[in-house]
Amino acid sequence: MSHLPKSNLWQTCSACKRHVHQGQWGEFNICPYCGHYQRLNADQRLVLLTDTKSFTALPPVNIKQQRHFPGYTVKLQEAQEKTGETEAFLAGTAAIKQQKVVIGVMDSQFMMGTLNTVVGAGIRQAIRTALSQRLPLILVIASGGARMQEGILSLLQMNTILAELTKLNEAGILTISVLTDPTMGGVTASFALESDFVFAEQGATIGFAGKRVIQQTNSAALPIDFQTAERLYRQGFLDAVIKRENLRTYLGRLLMIQAGDLNE
């Protein structure tokens, strides 16, 4: 047989460009040379955040009509083959440090986690499940914003998700957002920042307008830490910036406080 190594054993760090052996990433997928967090898919994220074998996915979203934007079907197929998922959002019930929650994860590897009719329906389903089962809702966000290929229907996910989220607030259900790299565009202008607690993973890029667009319309150089989690924290938009390896502990501690709430 071939003396060549098996494929995919070596990968390139997206930040420092050095070659990293599979075994060197460690359980948190952090570059051993520069410390950069590699982007995770939904499954990897769930493994890091939830108790072993506690995750049960919600029923899949029923896709009724597909938008016919040129080249879109091919793009979707490519993303499905690459990730093994049908869309850019995965949600279910799970336990975090023995406390039951509804958790939804956006997948930046699937068309950059963009918000479309199916992702929006999935998020609303997660919110409704949290409401009907009276469980805290944790949304792990990674998104480039609204998915252009579905036009106005992508935009309308923002107000419809917010409408459902308001019902959780009225019902006294805890909501937590964890913003990961990248969290941009319409997602930040709707549900991402509207939770009771908003955390960001260290090093995440978070913003509304894209850097390139801002650069095109403004001649001045952008601040060096522009649209970083650290800058947003300093400006008071985030409750904490957390290392990847500490996220689960943080969530667990916050969930635990609920045991001290008076139950009517």
Partner: protein
């Protein structure tokens, strides 16, 4: 599409100031968001519409170059959305219907807007409009794109002039991602509905107004008619009608 864009972006397109001057008496504008300053790109105020007290919020694009610079070309800043929320709170306090007038480019793409929390200001405004306890009617005088337009347009009724458009991003931005894909005879509106007639077919737009005759006069009639319908609804019915309209529309595609 390009003809329509020329019309709605031209210097003599009807704008917020003209509509207010002709339809609202005793108009009194709010100034500032009580946090960071005043955004001249968005006029928010209260006045009388056929003897009925209303709150009006409208984007200013400006006609002359000087005006356009002063209004920041209609790119509403975070302070504008916060002033808008002040107007909505005033409307709820006095049970006044809200009318929004939209002709604006996409987001205010600037370091200042990002640092001032543009995303959160927009999200707050959408949330407030979603659950507004009084009737709201959105009017597209021209174009409206991205989350900022959504904040002004989430309403019980959507009125659009024929040439106006409502889109996730500017037609130019969508053309860019379409490059190399578009079939020559297909128009952009055909691929992605964004103009008044296509959005009416989709069930998003309620009233399409013609571009002929006196535009302000036909807007006047449409507003009176829609307000009369909405004034029959209770607070709970208004919220339900508004939220269900959007939820039912998106549920047609995925649920």
């Amino acid at each position: 599409m390009s003809d329509a864009l020329k019309v709605i972006r031209s210097a003599d397109r009807i704008g917020t100031q003209q509509v207010i001057a002709q339809l609202i008496t005793n108009f009194f504008p709010l100034h500032g968001d009580r946090v960071s300053g005043d955004d001249p790109a968005l006029t928010v105020g209260t006045g009388l519409f056929h003897q009925r007290a209303v709150v009006v919020a409208g984007v200013n694009r400006g006609a002359t170059l000087e005006e356009r610079q002063r209004y920041h070309f209609g790119a509403v800043a975070p302070a504008g959305y916060r002033k808008f929320i002040r107007g909505l709170e005033l409307a709820e306090k006095f049970k006044r219907p809200v009318i929004t007038l939209i002709n604006m480019p996409g987001a205010d793409a600037s370091v200042a807007a990002e640092d001032d929390g543009q995303n959160l200001a927009i999200a707050d405004a959408i949330t407030k409009m979603n659950g507004l306890r009084v009737p709201n009617i959105a009017v597209f005088l021209g174009e409206g794109e991205s989350g900022g337009a959504l904040a002004l347009a989430t309403s019980n009724r959507l009125i659009m002039f024929t040439n106006s458009l409502y889109s996730v991003a500017s037609p130019e931005a969508i053309q860019t991602i379409l490059k190399g894909h578009v079939a020559a005879k297909q128009t952009l509106d055909h691929i992605l509905p964004m103009q008044a007639a296509a959005l009416k077919k989709l069930g998003l737009t309620d009233v399409v107004l013609p571009e002929t005759g006196d535009l302000v006069q036909s807007l006047d009639n449409a507003l009176q008619q829609q307000l009369a319908q909405l004034s029959k609804l209770s607070t709970a019915e208004l919220i339900e009608q508004r939220q269900n309209k959007y939820l039912e529309l998106v549920a047609q595609f995925a649920e």
